[in-house]
Symmetry: C2
Subunit: 361 residues, 2 copies
């Protein structure tokens, strides 16, 4: 097992990364109060809930469970309220711990509920998908969607501890594994060319779900994100680098209809567009661009999107949250392993980069 | 005009207290971003909304309005969501300011919405009731009720600035003025016997709504609360002193049905019960207890509640949020002007103190 500390002053917390981890032993120091609410979904429940129920009960805690339906479409205020209902019906007071057992949606909702219940209770995260292990484990972003926008309502809430168990990735659907790998690859592109090299050497093993390789990939990804978040907890600057591929990807997701493409799939194609524009701007070479596509393809990710009229594509991009005062900012690559945030790019070259990475009709 | 700073490090903010204040001039430095959402209710709207709309527009800001129905019963997740709807329908991004124009309910809801919208935007508070001027202006507690409990869901959110204009108290119903005075008197009891003396000298003028006296009472109350909150922002200790009268009052409010007694009215009688128990414990004299009742009566506040069976009263008290691990803690008076938080009190004496301050059937 490896342990990584996210350095946030008095909100510093550890991430435990390994296989077949022992939850009772590892979580014991971090469960605060006598009451624990496990929030999970109906997909994860039959697989892993009892394992954690037993562990928490063995620590002498009183445990309740809130099982939400599985899916991003339930990440809304109505289903958030079901967590509050469960907490209050079980008589929880402010001295309790909310434990998220599931992917990003469960982590976002349980985390937000823990931030708001009694104006803040303790929170523990057990991410069960690769995407949530490398993305939601670090950064403290929690929240829900609104019919008019994703993640529009939420809070920054740091957990007491995160436990990422690679053995739980065995049951992950293949597309979701790939979607998680998209975010892993993102960390390499935006700040660590050595990690890109490592991924190129080990991608086949990762796709085959070798637990030691997965653990190493999760560790490196979390370490990278943790370093950025420690410098910029509330996303005033550097943290925006993590949005590499996201503004293009957001347009693809929106156009396709949420849930048709997974977020990681859209980000993968978005990263290709960002790399393509970076190439057209003269910052990275044609070989670098090919290398970008190649590693994504080896992770079974799409590197082009269906044909989307360019005006619609641009309109969706401009609805992205990263637009500041009407000014589109993009995360681009100055070189492989070094991303920058910039509003100084050629709009015509951007259109070319988008069109070049769409499938012909 | 007097200015009081609430000292919370980088979240330090001023409270402007006076009459016929100029909002455009005073708010200009504190409105962040180009978009301002004024949240108010249908009672305050016809009285004061245009005044602030004009002021904000004169600063070149784009303004939208969200008008909620007036009343504590609307302080719920459904009506909170109307604020998010308004923000997103008006196309607000994270660089905006939410301005609460109203009493405690509006402040709590708009403040909580500002804490959650885009994971936190700027917040300005213009409290229009005496209670919200002395209570909600300081401390950053925001939130909503749940069918199973008051203020169960919320956030700590500090405003950029608070503007308390005494001239707006002219339109306040008499019972609400008295309810505000209950909280003013509370500050004197719990930590400032000199202020109690001042109130005894000036209560007639306060009840007659003399704006200079009201401003002084608001200033002293806010200063007192600000000092406590600066020491204990997240209510780990000293801040619980502010709950003087609240545990007893909570039982009265709950038994009567929320809204039948105003919160301040219940707190007034609750303070009499706390003082009575403090007297029975031998801490304050019979004269001190009479002095307690007298000043509350002069503010037209109830000093006794209807007959409530003692078992029911105790059951409601034990449901109070201040119960920690099943242990009831009370705020009592070691002497007039000096409150303490204690679990060491005689339960029989407490029953006597409750029964002694109920009206005969």
């Amino acid at each position: 097992m490896q342990t990584l500390f996210v350095e946030l002053g008095e909100r510093r917390y550890p991430i435990f990364i390994g296989s077949d981890l022992n939850p009772a032993e590892l979580l014991a120091p971090y469960i605060k109060g006598k009451q624990v609410m496990i929030v999970t979904n109906d997909t994860v429940k039959p697989l892993y809930l009892n394992h954690y129920l037993d562990a928490v009960q063995s620590l002498g805690k009183s445990v309740a469970t809130c099982v939400l339906p599985d899916g991003e479409k339930y990440k809304n205020i109505q289903h958030l309220n079901l967590i509050f209902d469960a907490l209050l019906e079980a008589g929880f007071n402010r001295d309790c711990t909310v434990l998220a057992l599931g992917g990003g949606v469960i982590g976002d909702m349980a985390g937000f509920a823990s931030a708001c219940f009694q104006r803040g209770v303790y929170f523990i995260q057990i991410p069960t998908t690769l995407l949530s292990q490398v993305d939601s484990s670090v950064g403290g972003k929690t929240g829900i969607n609104h019919p008019l926008g994703k993640n529009m309502i939420g809070a920054f809430k740091q957990p007491e501890v995160v436990m990422a168990d690679m053995s739980q990735l065995k049951t992950l659907p293949e597309r979701e594994l790939s979607a998680g790998l998209a975010e892993v690859i993102k960390y390499a592109f935006l700040g660590d060319v050595e990690f890109l090299h490592w991924l190129e050497q080990n991608m086949d093993g990762l796709v085959a779900r070798d637990p030691l390789l997965l653990a190493e990939a999760v560790y490196r990804s979390c370490a990278h994100k943790a370093r950025i978040v420690a410098n910029d907890e509330k996303e005033q600057g550097e943290r925006a680098l993590l949005n590499l591929g996201h503004t293009f990807g957001h347009a693809i997701e929106s156009y396709m209809g949420y849930g048709v493409w997974l977020h990681g799939e859209a980000v993968a194609t978005g990263m290709v567009m960002a790399a393509d524009l970076s190439h057209r701007m003269g910052w990275i070479s044609a070989e670098d661009l090919e290398r970008t596509k190649k590693i994504l393809q080896r992770a079974h990710l799409p590197v082009a999107c269906p044909k989307i009229p360019i005006d619609e594509f641009l309109a969706y991009m401009s609805h992205d949250k990263k637009v500041l005062n009407g000014q589109l900012r993009l995360v681009l690559l100055k070189k492989l392993g070094q991303a920058i945030i910039t509003k100084d790019f050629d709009i015509e070259l951007m259109k070319q980069a988008i069109l070049a990475n769409q499938l012909s009709a």
